[in-house]
């Protein structure tokens, strides 16, 4: 089971409303070819919820979302988000988790586009003298 062409078209338009491209940060929106392909490939077990959210969207819009005036599209997106519920939360989660692992987006955030392993990260030790006031306290555990 996959999304229908009309569901995909609506989904892509909604993705752009959730995360639009930014000229300020020179990054694509969630409707970008690569990112949206990742989104479609990542539906997996969440497909039924996404279909349900898109069905709700189609009912509210009454026409392909992208064919509507921009102001009406934004109004519909706001309505969907305000209405809430599991399906739209799941759809939003998939959009976000694919968007924020895109190389271009990560680089714009100053992040290295790589998995944590094997390079890891560096953690500063900090100033352990901060612990001196605590060390000077008497025991606070309750004797029995």
């Amino acid at each position: 089971m996959t999304l229908t062409p009309s569901e995909i078209t609506d989904f892509r338009a909604l993705a752009a409303l959730i995360i639009p491209p930014s000229a300020k940060y020179t990054i694509p929106g969630a409707n970008d070819d690569l990112i949206f392909a990742d989104i479609l490939n990542s539906l997996g077990r969440d497909l039924p919820d996404v279909q349900s959210a898109l069905a709700a969207l189609a009912t509210i819009a009454g026409a392909p979302l992208a064919s509507l005036p921009q102001a009406r599209q934004t109004e519909i997106a706001t309505h969907l988000r305000t209405q809430g519920g599991t399906p739209i939360a799941v759809l939003t989660r998939i959009v976000l988790l694919c968007y924020y692992r895109d190389d271009r987006v990560m680089l714009s955030l100053g992040l290295e586009p790589r998995p944590p392993f094997p390079k890891g990260h560096v953690l500063e030790q900090g100033d352990w003298s901060l612990l001196d006031p605590v060390k000077s306290r008497p025991p606070i555990w309750r004797p029995v």
């Binding site: 409303l17 959730i18 995360i19 639009p20 930014s22 300020k24 940060y25 990054i27 990542s42 997996g44 077990r45 934004t74 997106a77 706001t78 988000r81 939360a89 939003t92 989660r93 976000l96 988790l97 968007y99 924020y100 692992r101 990560m106 955030l109 992040l111 586009p113 790589r114 998995p115 944590p116 392993f117 094997p118 390079k119 890891g120 990260h121 560096v122 953690l123 500063e124 030790q125 900090g126 100033d127 352990w128 901060l130 612990l131 006031p133 605590v134 060390k135 306290r137 008497p138 025991p139 606070i140 555990w141 309750r142 004797p143 029995v144």
Partner: protein, 532 residues
């Protein structure tokens, strides 16, 4: 029929592994049945770019969401806190945060000290050598001298403070409150074949480096070398009993769904505070119509989770985010009873570092903090790596109506009835949560945080499954005795979190394992008269 073993352990997690290793020096024939698989370090999420996404799918902490073939479903609809676990060699030590406090001495004496619940039939001093032995085996990092505990010395130095820990330290010092680097099972030096932590930052969902102690890489290699057999993909459906009322072994399904009977002289249950009562209730027979070892009616009752609250805010500089283990410090300032606070018993804080980029986006979107549309990018840049937060872990007192029963319709893939959870948060716990959230806000304000957020209780927060086959000296009010042996079935032992008489206000794994080692040691001491 399969060949009889001396000791059959059901479950290979925190407690089962510790007991298997300890009992191995008896040279008895020991077999452990585990319903899950071995998990390779190369399978953990931090190996791939989709590492954050997998916490919502095949590494989700809820078995209902995760839905692996090795999982069993849990009906937790009637609970504000959902059951979490992991089914594999190592059990839920595969999927835990590695925060590793011990219960306090006072936790074992709550009736005597505070007039609530019951005292435990063991105490901190009795368990102390087993805490220390377990610290060595699991490999604990931390710092000696914590005024919140009797003296003990973790074998490795603590994790660094980092930027987040430094912020918290200044804030708590300003308030004059207790804090200390957490005991963790993260190796801060190379330790016993494990490479040291390199700050992958996603410890809870499995450590690709192997720096986090899970029993598949600590106890099990040693136990197997000592001759213990570990049989995976074996899901136990019943413990069987003979005409004399003693356990004769267990029936289980293998990976192909074929049913076997494994005979044994001694049966040890280590299947966690939901899995163990489920199995005992599923083992009902004409002799034991209300479930095995349940003449007291206490099997499945007194379920304790630890109600958690998450309290967090945002500061004006980037902190550690996900670039280090998620938990760094603890505060036990409000752990011991002070009735002027409006509740009995207490809580601790797990002070965190931050969250990953995707987790920040998802949780802030859900909270309404991160908008859709034009303002999204600017808002996200103000949030990312600026989060500072903590979890309050509140002592959950036992109440008989909080319980595990068998669901009348829900079954696992082998047709075994699933557990059903009925649980409510007590008024005392609500008052404790109120206090913990208010004081957490004090800490966050002292740390310079704004835009405070609270999740209460944490919905997917049922990590700690406790109390459902509790220990005690009175057979009418407890399931097992002071050393884990069933009052009713003298060759049946329980060694997991089900034993807990009370929950304390800290993560229980260290205490679960110390108890398992203590019970295993007692079995060894009493072998000649074990069934008397």
């Amino acid at each position: 029929m399969l060949e009889k073993v001396d000791v059959l352990i059901i479950g290979s997690g925190a407690s089962g592994a510790a007991a298997a290793w300890s009992l191995a020096d008896t040279r008895m024939r020991i077999l452990c049945l585990e319903q899950g698989d071995w998990i390779k370090q190369s399978e953990y999420p931090t190996n791939g770019r989709d590492w954050e996404a997998r916490q919502f799918s095949d590494f989700h902490p809820s078995p209902n969401k995760r839905g692996r073939t090795t999982d069993y479903p849990v009906n937790d609809d009637n609970s504000p806190i959902k059951v979490l676990n992991f089914n594999a060699v190592g059990g839920s030590t595969i999927l835990y945060a590695a925060h590793y406090p011990r219960l306090h001495p006072s936790d074992f004496r709550v009736k005597s000290l505070d007039g609530v619940a019951d005292d435990w039939p063991v105490d901190y001093a009795t368990l102390e050598p087993f805490f220390a032995e377990n610290d060595r085996m699991m490999g604990v990092s931390g710092l000696a001298g914590d005024p919140a505990y009797p003296a003990h010395t973790p074998p490795m130095p603590p994790l660094g403070l980092g930027k987040s820990g430094t912020r918290f330290a200044h804030a708590l010092n300003t308030l004059g409150w207790h804090w200390w680097p957490s005991d963790t099972t993260l190796a801060t030096t190379d330790y016993d074949g494990r490479a040291k932590c390199i700050n992958l930052g996603h410890c809870t969902f499995g450590c690709s480096q192997g720096a986090k102690a899970s029993t598949d890489i600590t106890y099990w290699p040693r136990a197997i070398r000592a001759g213990v057999e570990l049989r995976t993909r074996c899901r136990v459906s019943r413990i069987e009993t003979g005409p004399d009322g003693m356990a004769t072994g267990a029936t289980y399904f293998d990976a192909a769904g074929v049913e076997h009977f494994q005979p044994a002289e001694i049966v040890i249950l280590a299947a966690n505070g939901v899995g163990t009562p489920r199995l005992l209730l599923n083992s009902a027979s004409a002799q034991h119509p209300d479930g095995l070892a349940n003449s007291s009616g206490q099997v499945g009752r007194n379920l304790m989770f630890h109600p958690y609250a998450s309290i967090y805010g945002y500061v004006d500089e980037p902190l550690d985010g996900n670039k280090a283990p998620p938990l760094c410090l603890w505060s036990h300032q409000h752990y011991e009873t002070d009735l002027s606070r409006g509740f009995v018993r207490g809580y601790s804080y797990q002070l965190g570092r931050g969250v990953g980029t995707i987790t920040e986006a998802i949780t802030s979107t859900a909270a309404g903090r991160l908008p859709w549309g034009e303002g999204h990018h600017d808002a996200y840049r103000r949030l990312m790596n600026h989060r500072i937060g903590m979890a309050a872990i509140c002592e959950d007192l036992p109440e008989e109506h909080n319980r595990v029963t068998l669901d009348p319709t829900l079954k696992d893939s082998n047709g075994i009835p699933s557990p059903k959870i009925d649980y409510t948060i007590s008024e005392n716990s609500h008052r404790m949560l109120d206090h913990a959230i208010a004081r957490a806000k004090d800490i966050l304000h002292a740390a310079g945080a704004t835009d405070i957020g609270v999740d209460r209780p944490i919905l997917f927060g049922g990590w700690h499954l406790l109390g459902t086959a509790r220990m005690g000296t009175d057979p009418a009010r407890s399931v097992v005795n002071a050393w884990g042996r069933s009052h009713d079935v003298k060759n049946l032992f329980i060694i997991d979190g089900s034993l807990f008489v009370t929950s304390g206000g800290v993560n229980p794994t260290s205490t679960i394992q110390a108890l398992a080692l203590y019970i295993a040691d007692t079995i060894k001491q009493r072998l000649a008269t074990l069934f008397d």
